[in-house]
């Protein structure tokens, strides 16, 4: 009979460094992934996120560091003995085997009896909603189907850890959105510790328990999606997640000011000398009635108004020349209330939406 599904394992990455010549692909990276959590490594190309995943998988050997799955030190263990599931960006399906052949491959390696293999392959295919696809050839599958077969193959042997390298990047938008939800559900039902790599911040925000933002071989911030979005630790994270305008503010003691105007913020100030005001387009509002009490007001001139179907984009220039972008909802009446290019407008930012971040070079 089938063995009990194994417990998810935590991953402990400590002090991992990988240099190629003079370039630090990974710079003394440490990260704790909790057991059963869905953690995303998010960053631009070349940030080191894929390198870190490959180190975890065993395909890239770091210069130094420690890697533990639970209590087991695995940094020197070859990839085929690490017992984790992995999906690759190119799916890496074996074209000379059928779907069932692919999915059954890890079980054959583990000398599982034939009858049991067939059973577990069917179950895995069912979990990824590809029941009955066992006999298909790989080249007959669509991108989304290939993705699922790759997934089925990586979970069929019930690993405690699952690694995913930009699995959805080759799919079109609609499919990607759908798959994101499916992957999330799969994770919830299987419960294995999952490390997910992507450069798409929306994807990361949708699927993750926690996100580690990576840049130039270092972790910029490790937090829940909400905290990352609302309280980015530095400019890089703020820039990478969501769109924002940044205004340089002047700090004196515990007060900050912009353009001579004192800013009211409901959150405590970060511990840095140089601060930036981060303005999210959807948080700043248009105030048709002029400046509002208790909020931060920015007088500006509208330079561009763009209707985008479900919203509109307003670009406005502040008195000092800085451009701010604002996004607002469209509802019947408000359409006629949109400013025209050249109008004087007032943009307001409520204190709870006034976010100040560390402006130092991270």
């Amino acid at each position: 009979m089938r063995a009990e599904a194994r417990e998810a394992l935590p991953i402990s990455i400590q002090g991992v460094t990988k240099t190629y010549g003079t370039v630090h692909a990974l710079d003394n990276v440490s990260l704790e992934v909790r057991s059963g959590e869905f953690l995303t490594l998010l960053g631009p190309s070349g940030s080191g996120k894929t390198t870190l995943l490959m180190v975890t998988a065993g395909f890239t050997r770091p210069d130094c560091g420690s890697l533990k799955f639970g209590d087991r030190e695995v940094i020197r263990t070859p990839p085929h003995l690490r017992d984790l599931g992995m999906t690759f960006q190119s799916y890496a399906l074996f074209p000379h085997m059928s779907v069932a052949g692919n999915v059954g491959y890890p079980l054959r390696l583990r000398k599982v009896p034939k009858a049991e293999i067939a059973l577990r392959v069917d179950q895995a295919l069912e979990k990824v909603r590809l029941s009955g696809f066992g006999d298909r050839r790989i080249d007959q599958l669509s991108g989304g189907q290939k993705q699922r077969v790759a997934l089925a193959r990586s979970i069929v042997f019930e690993p405690s850890i699952l690694l995913m390298d930009e699995p959805l990047s080759a799919l079109d938008k609609k499919l990607r959105d759908q798959m994101q939800i499916e992957l999330r559900h799969l994770h919830e039902s299987l419960g294995m510790t999952t490390v997910y790599v992507t450069h798409d911040q929306r994807e990361a925000l949708t699927m993750s328990d926690r996100i580690a933002v990576v840049n130039r071989g270092r972790i910029m911030q490790l937090a829940t999606p909400r905290d990352l979005y609302e309280r980015p630790a530095n400019r890089f994270v703020a820039d990478f997640i969501g769109d924002s305008t940044f205004l340089k503010v002047i700090r004196s003691g515990n007060e900050v000011a912009y353009g001579g105007m004192e800013l009211k913020s409901s959150a405590p100030l970060p511990d840095a000398a140089a601060l930036l005001l981060m303005i999210r387009p959807e948080r700043i509002q248009l105030s048709p009635g002029g400046p509002r009490d208790g909020a931060n007001n920015f007088p500006a001139i509208a330079t561009e108004v763009v209707y985008q179907g479900d919203s509109y984009l307003l670009q406005a220039r502040l008195d000092d020349g800085t451009e701010i972008v604002m996004r607002g909802g469209v509802r019947g009446a408000s359409l006629s209330a949109l400013p025209a290019v050249g109008d004087r407008v007032t943009l307001t930012l409520a204190p709870e939406d006034t976010v100040l971040i560390d402006g130092g070079e991270a």
Binding site: G58, P79, H80, D83, A92, F157
Partner: protein, 275 residues
């Protein structure tokens, strides 16, 4: 026909008519390329000593002479043995080397590769006389082993190039996937990579066989005594006089070559065609 001449041959609107000279010239060249190769075939059935074309009298006498001659048959056997053995040695050695160099991360790789294709660069005569001397010293002159070893290094560059290029267009992440699923590198290679480059491997094998089977210069020096190769005997016969038996041997060789070439093309095509 006249209308076809006016049709554009390319998207830049050059008509077929304007290209007629090219078609004619190319046609002549193709005939000149093929004719000498193929003309031996009908000539080998000529009854006359002088190999006429078209044969006035048809006969199989030259085939009978070939198949009935102990010398020729022994030489043929030697060539076949050498060819098959070369194929069996050069293919695995070459494929492994190609894989090792492909997967390797040492800077020495390029040098090693160039070294391994030097047999193609060095003039064959030089290889021949060098090997001749060394073999004489080692007392393996005129042995099958010596011949196979020499032919193997001549075949290795081909194996490396063919297999190497197949590996380059192969998605190595499949091997990584296999390893992540629990297969050690050698098993991943055998179960995942090798099946997918098998067409290149088969082509390499066929090329190795042909390299050995057709080889003349080296065999001229180091095969002989008890083990002359077919090519050696043929070459000696050619230098002396036009022995018509060679026509029948040639026809058989053309047949063998064509079959092998078709096999290689078939396997090569399959690799590209979607199923």
């Amino acid at each position: 026909m006249l209308r076809w001449l006016k049709n554009p041959a390319t998207e830049t609107q050059i008509s077929h008519g304007q290209r007629l000279w090219l078609y004619l010239l190319s046609g002549i060249i193709m005939v000149l390329l093929l004719a000498p190769t193929l003309i031996v075939i009908p000539m080998s059935f000529s009854d006359s000593q002088y190999l006429e074309f078209p044969p006035r009298e048809w006969s199989l006498r030259w085939y009978e002479h070939y198949l009935g001659s102990g010398d020729w048959m022994r030489a043929t056997a030697t060539s076949l043995k050498a060819g098959i053995l070369t194929m069996l040695v050069a293919t695995p050695v070459g494929v492994l080397a190609a894989y090792g160099l492909h997967a390797s991360r040492i800077a020495f790789v390029r040098t090693a590769f160039l070294l391994l294709i030097t047999p193609m660069m060095v003039p064959l005569v030089l290889v021949a006389i060098g090997v001749f001397y060394v073999y004489a010293q080692l007392d393996i002159l005129y042995t099958l082993t010596g011949l196979v070893l020499a032919h193997t290094i001549l075949a290795l560059p081909l194996v490396l190039i063919v297999t190497g290029s197949a590996l380059k267009s192969y998605d190595m992440s499949q091997e990584d996937a296999a390893r992540s699923l629990g297969a050690p590198r050698w098993k991943a290679f055998l179960t995942v990579t090798l099946p997918q480059i098998r067409f290149a491997v088969i082509t390499s094998a066929l090329l190795s066989f042909l390299t050995s089977f057709d080889e003349v210069v080296v065999a001229m020096f180091i095969s002989g005594g008890d083990n002359p190769t077919l090519t050696r005997n043929m070459f000696n016969a050619l230098r002396d006089q036009i022995d018509p038996t060679i026509a029948s041997i040639s026809t058989i060789m053309i047949g063998v070559t064509t079959v092998l070439m078709v096999l290689a093309q078939v396997f090569g095509q399959q690799k590209k065609a979607p199923k």
